[in-house]
C-alpha cells in the first residue's frame, strides 16, 4: 500500500504567553507536530505493518517544517517531502489544500491519504475534506478505526451522535481523530536511520501549481483583523472568611436564586 500522510507543524498553543498589554507573544513559541497528525501517521504505520508498502509524509510550511518531517522519519515514515516556497505563504485552507493536492498529484499512484481531523492552531478541520475534493477522492472522515483488505477501506466513523461503519474503494482519503490509536514512541533504531535520510524540498514550480491559486493572493478568505478576545472584566465578588463562612454565603446565594 502506498500511503501519503499530510502533517502540519504548529506552534504549541497550549504554551502561549501574554505580554503586559495583553497581546500574544508569538516569537519563541516552540513548534510541534500537530498532535492528531501523529495519530494519522501511526494509523499509516499500522496499515503498513499489515499490508506492506511505503509511507510518504508531506508537509507544507516555512523552512523550520523540516524538523517536523525529520520527526516523522523518526517515527517510521519511509520518505518525506517538504513543500516550502514563499509563494505558498499566507494561504488559507483552500490555497493550502490546492498546494498539497498538486504535490500529491506529482507523487501519484497512491492508495490512501491519511490526515488528522484538524490542526490545533486553526481548528478549521477543512484541509482534509478540501483535499479530498480537489483530488476527487471518497472522503472518510472522523475515523476511530481503520480496516482494509488492500482494495477497499473501511472506517468506524464518529459522526456526532451517530457511529457508522462506512466503506469505499481505494484510493480514498481518511481523516482521523486522536482516539483512533495510541501512537508509538519514536523507536531508537528509526531515529538513527532518520538522520541519514534526505528531505527533498519542493517549490511551487516543482508541483506544477498555478500561481493564481497559491498563497495569500490565492486565498478566497482574507484576514481583516486579529484581536485579543473580549475578556469580560465582570465584577466578580470574591468571598472572604473561613471555609464555613464562605460556604454559608454560597448556599444562601443559591437559595436566593432558587438553585437549590
Amino acid at each position: 500500500m502506498k500511503i501519503i500522510v499530510t502533517i502540519k507543524q504548529v506552534p504549541n498553543v497550549t504554551k502561549v504567553k501574554w505580554d503586559a498589554d495583553g497581546s500574544l507573544i508569538r516569537a519563541g513559541l516552540p513548534t510541534i507536530i500537530n498532535p492528531v497528525d501523529k495519530h494519522a501517521l501511526e494509523a499509516a504505520l499500522q496499515l503498513k505493518e499489515k499490508h506492506g508498502g511505503e509511507i510518504i509524509v508531506i508537509s507544507m510550511g516555512p523552512g523550520q517544517v523540516k524538523s517536523a518531517l525529520r520527526e516523522a522519519l523518526c517515527m517510521g515514515a519511509d520518505e518525506v517531502i517538504q513543500l516550502t516556497d514563499r509563494k505558498f505563504a499566507g494561504a488559507d485552507t483552500w490555497a493550502t489544500s490546492y498546494a498539497l493536492g498538486c504535490a500529491i498529484q506529482k507523487i501519484g499512484d497512491y492508495d490512501l491519504i491519511i490526515s488528522g481531523v484538524e490542526a490545533m492552531d486553526g481548528n478549521t478541520a477543512q484541509v482534509g475534506p478540501q483535499l479530498a475534493e480537489y483530488l476527487k477522492l471518497p472522503l472518510l472522515s472522523y475515523a476511530l478505526g481503520i480496516e482494509s483488505d488492500g482494495k477497499t477501506i473501511q472506517i468506524q466513523q464518529k459522526l456526532g451522535d451517530v457511529e457508522r461503519k462506512i466503506e469505499a474503494d481505494l484510493p480514498a482519503l481518511i481523516t482521523v481523530e486522536k482516539e483512533i490509536n495510541d501512537y508509538r514512541v519514536t523507536p531508537m533504531d528509526k531515529i538513527l536511520e532518520a538522520f541519514e535520510k534526505e528531505i527533498p524540498v519542493w517549490e511551487a514550480a516543482d508541483v506544477d501549481a498555478d500561481l493564481v491559486h497559491l498563497g495569500l493572493k490565492g486565498s478566497p478568505t482574507k484576514l481583516r483583523k486579529v484581536f485579543s478576545p473580549k475578556i469580560e472584566k465582570g465584577k466578580v465578588q470574591m468571598l472572604e472568611g473561613t471555609p464555613e463562612e464562605i460556604a454559608r454565603q454560597v448556599a444562601d446565594k443559591l437559595n436566593e436564586k432558587f438553585l437549590i
Binding site: W94, V162, E163, R224, I246, R248
Partner: protein
C-alpha cells in the same frame, strides 16, 4: 471561479439544514435565526436547504423558524448523510441559483460537508465562527472566530468569491422563536442519483445512547479542572453534582486524564454550555475553556490562585482549595435541604 464581475449576480442567504431521521438538528435552527438577521440586514431572502428522505414536514418546520423558501431534495439514497451526494446536490443548485451567503452548523456533518462544498464552489469558508455580521456598506459577511488555538480572535472576510461560507458551532447562537403561521415556499429539487455517484457505502449506522441530558442542555454544571482533579476533590465534585442535580463537565486536561468523558469537555474544542449555574473548580480559565462558558447565567468559581483568569468570568469567586471549600459548601446546602 467567481470573479468580481459576477458578484452582483449572487443574492440571498442560504442555510443548510441538517436532519437525522427527520429530526432537525438544533444547530440548524440556530443557523436559521442567525441567517434571518443577516438576510434582513442585506434585504434578501433566507433560503433553507434540506436533503433527506421523506422529510417534507421538516421543510415546513424550517419555514416556521424563519425560512422564506426551502430547497428540498429527497431520495431514499439521501436518507443517511453522504458527503459526495450532498455536495453534488448543493453545488449544482448553488451554481444555478448563485447565493451570496451559505452558512452551515459546525456539527460533525457540517464540518465534513462544508469544506467539500466550498472547495468545489471555489470559494472561501470560515469555520467555527462565534459571531457573524454584515458590513452593510460593502455587502460583506464578516465572520469572527477564535484562532491560534483560541488565544486570539480573528475577523475574516471573503471579498471576491461567492457564496461567502461560514460555519458556526452548536450552542453559540440562540434558537429563534417558531411561528407556525409563517408562510413560505417549498421547492422540490429533482434528484437523479447514478449508481457510480455513490463512492462511500454505509455498512452500519448506530445512534449512540447518552445517559440523560447532554451537557449543552444541562441547567446546572460543575466544572472539573486540573486543580481539583485529585481523588478527594473529584469525590466532592461528584457529591455536589448529585446534591444539586448538576452535570459534571470539565477542562481538556481532565479529559486527557480520563477523569471525564470527551463528550462533557467544555470549551473551544469541546462543548458550549449555557446553564443557569456553573461552578468551575480548579479551572484556571484559559481562553480554550472560557469560550465555552460565556453563556452561563451564574458562575461561582473556585481556584487556589486568586489571580486566575476564571474569576473574570465569575459572579462569585472563592480563592481556595476545592478539597476544603467543596465539603463545606456541601454541608451548608444539605442544611438547606433538611
Amino acid at each position: 471561479m467567481a470573479t468580481k464581475a459576477n458578484i452582483e449576480e449572487h443574492k440571498n442567504v442560504w442555510v443548510f439544514a441538517e436532519q437525522n431521521n427527520g429530526k432537525l438538528a438544533k444547530v440548524s435552527l440556530e443557523m436559521l435565526g442567525e441567517g434571518k438577521k443577516l438576510a434582513n440586514k442585506l434585504g434578501v431572502e433566507l433560503i433553507a436547504f434540506l436533503i433527506g428522505d421523506n422529510v417534507k414536514t421538516s421543510a415546513e418546520t424550517l419555514i416556521a423558524y424563519g425560512a422564506d423558501k426551502v430547497y428540498l431534495a429527497e431520495d431514499p439514497e439521501l436518507k443517511d448523510y453522504r458527503t459526495e451526494l450532498y455536495t453534488d446536490i448543493i453545488c449544482n443548485k448553488a451554481n444555478e441559483e448563485k447565493p451570496e451567503i451559505l452558512i452551515i452548523g459546525a456539527s460533525a456533518i457540517g464540518r465534513d460537508l462544508t469544506p467539500r462544498v466550498s472547495f468545489r464552489l471555489n470559494t472561501g469558508c470560515t469555520a467555527d465562527c462565534t459571531e457573524l455580521d454584515i458590513d452593510e456598506e460593502k455587502r460583506l459577511l464578516i465572520s469572527t472566530r477564535p484562532a491560534f488555538g483560541g488565544n486570539v480572535m480573528a475577523t475574516i472576510i471573503c471579498p471576491d468569491h461567492r457564496p461567502q461560507m461560514s460555519t458556526v458551532r452548536p450552542g453559540v447562537m440562540a434558537v429563534p422563536e417558531a411561528d407556525a403561521s409563517r408562510k413560505g415556499e417549498i421547492i422540490n429539487i429533482p434528484v437523479e442519483i447514478k449508481a457510480d455517484q455513490i463512492k462511500v457505502r454505509i455498512l452500519e449506522s448506530i445512534e449512540k445512547e447518552h445517559e440523560g441530558d447532554k451537557i449543552e442542555d444541562a441547567a446546572k454544571v460543575i466544572g472539573m479542572g486540573i486543580g481539583a482533579s485529585d481523588p478527594e476533590s473529584v469525590e466532592y465534585i461528584k457529591e455536589l453534582a448529585k446534591l444539586l442535580d448538576a452535570k459534571i463537565g470539565g477542562s481538556r486536561p481532565c479529559v486527557e486524564k480520563h477523569l471525564i468523558d470527551h463528550e462533557v469537555q467544555v470549551g473551544q474544542t469541546g462543548k458550549n454550555i449555557r446553564p443557569e449555574l456553573y461552578i468551575p473548580c480548579g479551572i484556571s480559565g484559559t481562553v480554550q475553556h472560557t469560550t465555552g462558558i460565556t453563556n452561563a447565567k451564574y458562575t461561582i468559581a473556585i481556584n487556589k490562585d486568586p489571580n486566575a483568569e476564571i474569576f473574570k468570568f465569575a459572579n462569585l469567586g472563592i480563592a481556595g482549595d476545592a478539597k476544603v471549600i467543596l465539603p463545606a459548601i456541601i454541608k451548608e446546602i444539605q442544611k438547606y435541604k433538611a
